[in-house]
């Protein structure tokens, strides 16, 4: 078959962008495309030879300015399964400790012409800065308090895998909303896809702009959990807290922690999600984390498939769209 024939008989779509910086700028069709592509990628991960040649000869740099285990390894596995050449740069071993700025680091890397840069950075908007100065495709793997798009995509993939849809589901997100980029990406995604989204936290941990998303804000865990299809817990990010947001971890766990007892209010087949790493006994009890409703390890497994989809769909880059 020619490419023309192939295109005429398949539903051709592509991401109309060079970079993936956040969910905010994606359309619901683009989100669907990534999730559909991830389904095919998941099948690759189930084979005995878990490798396809799609990104052979492409170079991907994983540039991580913050500690990360699951996101970095997940991207690395995804890149290797697509046959890309990967390069990991962790800040502790790079020139950043000698005082190099983000821009200089990026320009230095860019001079070696990688095809994609996966960036994790403590400042919101770091990916946007790089996307303006780099020809490489930039994939945001978490920037400050802004977004963590591949996490929201893998959450959506995990929900869709079980429930076959996102629209109309009640999704309750409970925990440290204020410091969570995962929350912001998830709110963009869930509201775009038509989920009934609830957020729940002590008033001190609710960001000011929640109304903008059109989600329901509550301070009652019981209200949030009642009849929920999905309960997503967010980590209490002590390392980002400079003031006193609640009296003690024990108090937080008593009032907001997810327990088996509280979960009885949810739908009988509720899904329990957590982006990790978990504080067991704080936002989630061990019984819930390891219980029958938990899909936390599915989330990790699906992360690889979703990241493969994003890498594949961004490969080729924007210059090819002009010839379309």
């Amino acid at each position: 078959m020619t490419i023309q024939e192939l295109e005429s008989d398949t539903r051709v779509t592509s991401l109309r962008r060079k970079d993936l910086l956040g969910i905010e700028e994606l359309s619901s069709e683009e989100i669907e495309l990534i999730l559909d592509t991830a389904e095919a990628m998941k099948e690759v991960g189930a084979r005995s030879i878990k490798k396809v040649p799609a990104l052979r000869g492409r170079t991907v740099v994983n540039l991580f300015f913050e500690p990360s285990t699951r996101t970095r390894t997940s991207f690395e596995i995804a890149e290797k399964r697509l046959s890309a050449d990967t390069l990991n740069i962790a800040v502790s071993t790079s020139s950043v400790v000698k005082g190099e700025t983000l821009v200089d680091t990026a320009l230095t890397l860019e001079a070696m012409s990688p095809d994609m840069i996966v960036l994790r950075h403590q400042s919101s908007g770091a990916g946007h800065l790089l996307s303006r100065i780099c020809k490489s495709a930039i994939i945001n793997a978490g920037d400050g308090l802004h977004e963590h798009p591949t996490q929201a995509l893998l959450d959506a993939f995990t929900i869709r895998e079980r429930r076959k849809r996102l629209a109309g589901l009640k999704v309750a997100i409970i925990g440290d909303l204020l410091h969570s980029r995962v929350l912001r990406s998830n709110l963009h995604l869930l509201t775009k896809m038509g989920a009934d989204t609830w957020v729940c936290a002590p008033p001190t941990l609710v960001p000011a702009d929640m109304r903008r998303f059109g989600v329901t804000v509550t301070h009652s865990v019981d209200q949030a959990v009642r009849d929920a299809d999905v309960v997503m817990l967010l980590r209490i990010q002590l390392e980002r807290m400079e003031g006193a947001y609640f009296s003690s971890l024990r108090e937080y766990a008593t009032v907001f922690g997810m327990t088996e007892e509280r979960l009885k209010l949810a739908k009988p087949d509720v899904m329990i999600m957590h982006p990790g790493p978990m504080n067991r006994g704080v936002e989630i009890s061990s019984e819930v984390a390891d219980g029958p409703y938990s899909v936390i390890l599915d989330q990790v497994a699906n992360g690889v498939a979703v990241r493969m989809a994003v890498l594949y769909l961004l490969a080729g880059g924007a210059e090819h769209e002009e010839t379309a």
């Binding site: 078959m1 020619t2 024939e5 192939l6 779509t13 099948e43 030879i49 594949y312 010839t323």
Partner: protein, 178 residues
């Protein structure tokens, strides 16, 4: 827009190919059909059903998506949607019949061979195509051909199957009025 094969013709052609497969392999033991998505998958299923009528045996049938094995990922303005590969049987030591709708440059077949060999080591791979339109760019030939259709490079050959489209037919669209 000449229609070069209608539904009857496609049906009779697939029946003839099924008999050839049965004859050349001296039965259907160790055979398996693998269709290249999307239309090859449905041709493979039809062949499996005809072979079942002829021989009484069920033949394992799978579908192969070759998108991730293409050599032109970066050249395409828009990417075809990646679909799941579904081969729910071991291809090791089996005689695999690789099925596609149109054989043209041979590049799809090359990608399919790479993809297949990642799944195991078949004892042989035979190529079945509904239409061979010529213009090979690689040293690849089909073992079973439904119809040879001479074309110019500018022409396009459109295979339509009821499973995907509204009817069975093969249309030759000349490059001039494309």
């Amino acid at each position: 827009m000449p229609i070069v094969m209608d539904a009857d013709r496609i049906g009779r052609t697939l029946t003839r190919i099924a008999h050839e497969i049965d004859e050349r392999n001296k039965g259907v033991q160790d055979l398996a059909l693998v269709g290249v998505r999307r239309r090859g998958e449905h041709i493979a299923k039809r062949l499996a059903s005809i072979l079942k009528d002829i021989t009484g045996h069920d033949i394992p049938t799978g579908a192969l998506d070759i998108t991730l094995y293409r050599d032109d990922v970066a050249r395409q303005a828009a990417k075809p949607v990646v679909r799941r590969t579904e081969i729910n049987f071991s291809i090791d030591a089996r005689k695999i019949l690789l099925v596609d709708d149109v054989l043209f440059t041979g590049r799809t077949t090359r990608a399919a061979l790479d993809a297949l060999t990642d799944f195991g080591r078949p004892s042989s791979i035979q190529l079945v195509v509904l239409v061979d339109r010529g213009h090979r760019e690689l040293p690849i030939r089909a073992d079973y051909v439904g119809k040879n259709i001479p074309t110019s490079l500018a022409d396009s050959v459109n295979v339509r199957l009821t499973e995907i489209d509204d009817r069975d037919e093969v249309e030759l669209q000349s490059g001039g009025d494309a």
